[in-house]
């Protein structure tokens, strides 16, 4: 269970508060206008931004002061999810061993993960020779081998076309269905949220609201969400 306990994050003059929990295996979409603090919240959970007040907890363990790489979180950023100088196998392998001392077993796992995302046989390709969709798949394969209990997506598919994005979201849903991970994803599109999220937290006016069930929220949006959806 991921707990945001009276969490307060600040970046310059901007501040964001959140106080809610997310159950293991649950999927959550953060939705709201740009600049509202969706990415800030992810940065706070991932450990790139220390809270000025409150705590982030995982299974009642306080994550304050724990380095991003040590947290139970795998994250896909908006862009630059792959190191362009490393081939696909190594990019994925980094999820198993940050020093890339991969055993035969590790390499087999990398191969399985690549097969799972539809990139079987792409091991020796460099990211520069992949399409945008294939790059997203490779990054997802890495998140897969990391086996972290929380997967966070900071709009990594926003540069893809609508059909490809839907395909990637379905793949994400299948993958977390298999691993039992929780999902926190940032999105602009209520359609994306409806496709994958159990609950939605509306992020606006400096608050990431208590998540509400997706269907109910979209059928009967609160004012902040109505303003955003227009």
């Amino acid at each position: 269970m991921l707990t945001l306990d009276h969490l307060r994050l600040e970046q310059g003059a901007f501040s964001l508060t959140a106080n809610w929990t997310l159950a293991a295996g649950e999927t959550l979409a953060l939705i709201g206008p740009s600049g509202a603090g969706k990415s800030t919240l992810l940065a706070g959970i991932a450990g790139f931004l220390e809270p000025v007040a409150g705590r982030v907890l995982w299974q009642d363990r306080d994550l304050t002061g724990i380095a991003p790489g040590q947290r139970p979180v795998a994250m896909l950023f908006q862009d630059a999810n792959l190191f362009p100088h490393l081939d696909v196998a190594r990019n994925v392998g980094l999820g198993l061993r940050p020093d890339l001392r991969l055993t035969r077993e590790d390499r087999a796992k990398v191969g399985e993960a690549l097969d799972r995302v539809g990139l079987g046989g792409f091991q020796t390709r460099k990211p520069g020779s992949l399409s945008g969709g294939q790059q997203s798949r490779a990054a997802l394969a890495r998140a897969l081998v990391m086996r972290r209990p929380v997967l966070m997506l900071d709009e990594p598919f926003s540069a893809l076309g609508p059909a490809m994005r839907t395909e990637m979201l379905d793949l994400v849903r299948d993958v977390i269905g298999e691993t039992g991970a929780s999902l926190v994803m940032v999105t602009h599109d209520p359609g994306d949220a409806a496709r994958i999220a159990d609950r939605i937290s509306v992020v606006a006016d400096g608050v990431a609201a208590e998540p509400a069930p997706t269907r109910a929220l979209l059928d009967n949006p609160p004012e902040a969400l109505r303003d955003y959806l227009g």
């Binding site: 790139f48 630059a80 190191f83 100088h85 940050p98």
Partner: protein, 498 residues
């Protein structure tokens, strides 16, 4: 750690110089004369280089012709070209038996003498005109095409166009460029050693050398070093202030389309470009031609010296690159500070300081090559830093978070993120350092080892004993080695990149 290393490398010798100078009395009238001459020649060099660079850069900025890109690239060559080679080339034109005097003799005119102030200025312009042109060209590139389009639309006369569009850019850039060239010329040594000399044309740097090698008066050398340190630090500080905040890095050479300049202006531009090209290329060609004839019949000494020089250059690279890397790694801005200290510490001042530091423990003459390597490394340090520091910052900005989220720390981060992505800049920086160290005739002249020499020193000795042909062959070899080392290191950085 690294900062401490640099401090020891630079501040130690400087401290030794100042401490020794403290008890050595005041500068003599001859020292003050050297100081005046140093400042005067540096000021004239700066004004001449910059003044000539303005029409040349303007011509290059507004004309498009075949070979333009090559010419701009060529303007970078004097930076790596060893001073002694350039001087050999210039002497082949302007020297006693150079092309110019042969021509003058043919038509019955008196020979001109290149030695003295005008010879020094000639060489300084040769090195700094291309630098000034490149820096000014960036200024012209920075002026948006739209301004020129608007000026053409308004049918602005050339005078008004210069005053309203180009002059503001020049006023912003020229003071910084003047100050940089002034600071560089203050500590020019090899040029003055060969083309200057005599009481009328002695700089402080040369006086240090003379105090060392003729009088062996360490106190006097220390006093002069302190003097030199004072003026160069002042000039470097001035340059830093005047050149601050304006990018001196490369730009995209977007073609600037212009509609001004009738046939007369075009002819003027063509003349400026042609003259500059001839001025820069001819000495190089003469070195190639003269040296080519004797390259294979050179004395063994020259080849031995080449071997020594390669070792010195590699030694400097081995010191400077890791040091620059370690300095640039922490996320703070040390680049300017280090640049300032190294600019202020001229090679001979540093060499004097190291001599003073080592003397109580060992005979410095036995460690000349090591001292030379280290001093050359210190001289190259700011250039290496400038090559890798922005790249390092870009790597952290682009991939720092991803590496953090994957738990890539320590050696893993170094091995799989920083080194592979920095390789290109490291190769370029190492190439610069090796070439600069290879071609340097500075501290080695201060206490030349009797049984060994670097290639620049060997060429200097050959020139001194009028073995002009062997000197030309050595110059050609030195040029090959400098550019060869540069391209070899640069290549090593590139090959890894995909």
């Amino acid at each position: 750690m690294a900062a401490l290393g640099v401090a020891m490398l630079l501040l130690g010798p400087l401290g030794a110089v100042l401490w020794r100078a403290g008890g050595a009395g005041m500068p003599s009238p001859a020292d003050w004369a050297a100081l005046r001459f140093t400042v005067m020649q540096a000021a004239l060099s700066a004004i001449l280089s910059c003044g000539l660079a303005i029409p040349v850069a303007r011509a290059l900025a507004r004309r498009r012709f075949a070979g333009r890109q090559a010419l701009i690239l060529l303007m970078g060559a004097p930076f790596i070209l060893p001073v002694i080679v350039a001087i050999a080339g210039l002497l082949a034109i302007f020297g006693r038996n150079g092309l110019l005097n042969q021509g003058l003799a043919l038509i019955g005119l008196e020979r001109i003498d290149v030695f003295g102030l005008h010879g020094i200025l000639l060489a300084h312009v040769f090195f700094n005109l291309p630098l000034a042109v490149r820096l000014l060209l960036e200024g012209w590139r920075g002026i948006p095409t739209e301004r020129f389009r608007l000026a053409a639309q308004l049918d602005m006369p050339p005078g008004a166009m210069f005053r309203l569009i180009e002059w503001p850019m020049l006023r912003q850039r020229v003071p910084g460029i003047l100050a940089v060239i002034f600071a560089v010329c203050l500590s020019s040594f090899a040029v003055v050693l060969i083309l200057g000399g005599g009481p009328a044309a002695t700089t402080v740097e040369l006086a240090i050398y003379q105090a060392f090698s003729f009088d062996f008066d360490l106190g006097k050398a220390a006093v002069l070093s302190a003097l030199q340190l004072g003026i160069v630090a002042g000039a470097a500080g001035l340059a830093l202030v005047l050149a601050r905040g304006r990018g001196m890095g490369g730009g995209l050479d977007r073609p600037v389309q212009r509609w001004d300049g009738g046939p007369w202006a075009a002819r003027g531009d063509a003349a400026w470009i042609a003259l500059t090209a001839v001025f820069i290329v001819t000495p190089l060609i003469l070195v190639l031609v003269q040296g080519g004839a004797t390259l294979l019949s050179m004395p063994l000494l020259v080849w031995q010296a080449a071997g020594v020089s390669i070792l010195v250059a590699l030694g400097s690279t081995l010191v400077a690159v890791p040091l620059a890397f370690a300095l640039a790694l922490p996320r703070r801005d040390v680049v300017e500070g280090v640049g300032l200290i190294t600019l202020a510490a001229s090679p001979l001042v540093l060499g004097t300081g190291m001599f003073l530091l080592i003397r109580p423990f060992a005979f410095p003459g036995n460690h000349v090559l090591v001292i030379t390597s280290i001093v050359n490394a210190a001289m190259a340090l700011p250039f290496v830093l400038r090559a890798i520091s922005p790249e390092l910052r870009a790597i952290e900005a682009d991939y720092g978070r991803l590496a953090d989220s994957l738990g890539m720390t320590g050696w893993a981060r170094m091995r799989w993120l920083i080194l592979p992505r920095l390789r290109r800049s490291l190769g370029f920086g190492a190439g610069l350092c090796a070439a600069l160290s290879m071609g340097d005739l500075g501290v080695i002249a201060l206490f030349p080892p009797p049984d060994a020499a670097t290639l620049p020193l060997q060429i200097y000795r050959l020139m001194g004993s009028y073995q002009i042909e062997a000197a030309a062959g050595g110059s050609l070899l030195l040029t090959f080695l400098c550019f060869g080392l540069f391209f070899a290191f640069d290549r090593m950085g590139r090959d890894a990149d995909t």
